[in-house]
């Protein structure tokens, strides 16, 4: 087999079959995929969550992850934020002609490992190859199905005044890790993307018996944008404190250099939870017990208000409005 992807690999002919059998299935195989039918047949009952996302990150390999890990984590996390246990994943590749086969293999290995950690089966997929220049190396689309446990009702619209805001760790790691590797902007940092599957952490919090009103993973647009979305959805004012927000020195330093506000920088392995005050310590302890939540912190609370807004108390004790992200902070970070 040639060592780069050719247009013929997407033609549905012999090369395509060999690519699927020798490269993709060898990494991702499971009984349902192995049947090679046109569709996966699933047995579902009860409340089911369904979500989709596309991944176009550049570069496709970055410190702490790659486009494959990102695709599995991103979709898993979207599902976990409604309290669902992830079950099945679809995986669709759009590949630019000329992609080294070794790059595709590396991404597949990463998908396989992340899917295993997240406890999800890849049950259907597709591969297309486009002309050089029509895509940038590799794009991935995923969709995912998960089951919502009886009695779980987590939604961005459920936040009540008095709820504590709990953040699972430091912000901005993903955005800055990607930025550090972008063409024309190499700067030296040991920072890794925080890209991680969060379903296990969510399961732990639910299992701890705490009431959770809302969960959201602050990806593109950062914490600021996520809090604004939630504030509008639940019609509350959210007040956070600058000094309580976990932030790595590397991220702070890079943000200063690049002129970014870390509140707007993307994360791929963090979540923010809104819980009644009496359950806050339980949720915090549960998060901190998870490998992806060791730095979790209570960063503020929701209060009642006529107009939804997000306000941050600064280190000086002043307060300022936190708006949504305007425009594009970093191009193609996920």
């Amino acid at each position: 087999m040639p060592e780069t992807i050719l247009l013929a690999h997407g033609s549905g002919g012999k090369l395509a079959h060999r690519l699927i059998e020798e490269t993709i299935l060898s990494d991702l195989t499971n009984p349902m995929l192995a049947q090679m039918d046109d569709s996966a047949v699933l047995d579902l009952s009860g409340r089911t969550a369904f979500t989709t996302d596309s991944y176009v990150v550049s570069p496709i390999f970055f410190p702490g992850g790659d486009i494959g890990k990102l695709a599995v984590c991103g979709t898993t996390n979207d599902l976990a934020m409604s309290g669902a246990r992830p079950l099945y994943l679809s995986l669709s590749f759009i590949i630019e002609e000329g992609l080294p086969l070794s790059d595709l293999r590396r991404v597949l290995t990463s998908i396989h490992e992340t899917a295993r950690e997240a406890g999800v089966q890849i049950v259907t997929g597709d591969t297309k190859v486009v002309n050089r220049g029509s895509a940038d190396k590799l794009y991935i689309n995923t969709a995912r199905i998960g089951k919502i446990a009886e009695g779980t009702n987590i939604s961005g619209g459920n936040i009540l005044p008095g709820d504590k805001v709990i953040l699972s760790g430091s912000i901005g790691d993903h955005g800055i890790a990607i930025m550090s590797k972008r063409e024309g902007l190499h700067f030296s940092t040991d920072l890794q993307s925080d890209c991680a599957p969060l379903a296990a952490m969510v399961a732990d919090i639910i299992a701890a018996g705490a009431t959770i009103h809302a969960l959201r993973d602050p990806t593109r647009g950062g914490l600021a944008t996520t809090l604004n979305e939630l504030s509008e959805q639940s019609h509350v004012k959210i007040v956070i404190e600058e000094e309580l927000i976990p932030l790595r020195d590397e991220v702070l330093g890079a943000c200063e250099m690049l002129g970014f506000d870390p509140l707007y920088v993307a994360n791929e392995g963090k979540l923010v939870a809104f819980v009644p005050p009496e359950d806050a310590e339980t949720v915090l302890a549960s998060m901190r017990g998870n490998r992806y939540g060791a730095q979790a912190a209570i960063i503020g609370e929701a209060v009642s208000a006529n107009t939804p807004s997000v306000v941050m108390k600064t280190v000086l004790g002043a307060s300022r409005l936190i708006d949504m992200l305007v425009g594009d902070l970093l191009p193609r970070i996920c």
Partner: protein, 363 residues
Amino acid sequence: MKYASEFRQGRLASGLIEKIKRSSRTPVNFMEFCGSHTVSIFRYGIRQVLPETVTTLSGPGCPICVTANADLDRAIALAQIPNVIVASFGDVLRVPGSFTSLQAVRAEGADVRVIYSAMDAIKIAEDNPNKQVILLGIGFETTTPTIAASIVQAKQENLDNFSVLSWHKLTPPAMKALLDAGDVALDGLICPGHVSIITGSQAWEFIARDYGIPCVVAGFEPLDILQCIDMLVTQAENGEAKVEIAYTRGVQHEGNTVAQRLMSQVFEPCPAQWRGMGTIPDSGLKLREEFSSFDAERVFDIDPGPTREPKGCICGEVLRGVKTPIDCPLFGRTCTPESPVGACMVSSEGSCFTYHLYGGKNA
């Protein structure tokens, strides 16, 4: 020393705030020249914690905001010439010229590339020998030395497809013009930190001496700015006017002499048009004769035609500190960061953008 977090400590800040409150008796107007200072002041809510006697005004210190429409139109026209690549820092792309923007002509097929350093433009020129690469040289004294370095390198390499459209501007002449216009009465100047790293604090001595206005160079962290305001209040209360540095970890009296020499090797002062402030003598920089083959103004003969200013936009008065963004009838209505009318709403250091981001109508 940690250069950011150590200068953000709430406990130290409250000590400084108390000190300012104790010592400030006479009402004073201080201007922060620099857009980065405006951003910090809003980001940390510094105006809220100052006593009523201390008012801070935002000045014209955002290079993108002060770029005249005529200059933008020229860059846009250059970008539309076949086989030309325009290399630009990101923010410039969205700034509306008289009729369109670099972003819009890029969408229509012009080759406009975002760069992060001047050397990226040299690399693009080396990689594209059959195309002409034009670097938009924008910025105050802070960025000019890096553009000068790229021109020196291009000359050493005999690059014949690289040129610079110089929009570079000098800050002390602009400050002088602002004071001479007499629109605003100032009791103190928060002098720009990054600019002063290059120029040295000496650049502001004429303001203290000739205009009797206290000057303090400040860094960009909340403690830097509070310390600067404390020093300005002390000078004002004591009836003094001198140049001091509240940013000693970055700025010295004489500045960066290597960078200064590099700048004057490549550039010489010329009159420059500032948005909202008109033409200010000796406030711009053009390439010296020996570097004329790298001067886009000379390499390309471009006449983009008459300019047009957006109706109702008060960017000019905002830049002079005469009005604030919320005085503008367009602010937050027809002019927003998503669909900006004036440059001050585009640049991340523009006053209008900062007001909108950090406070909206309640700024």
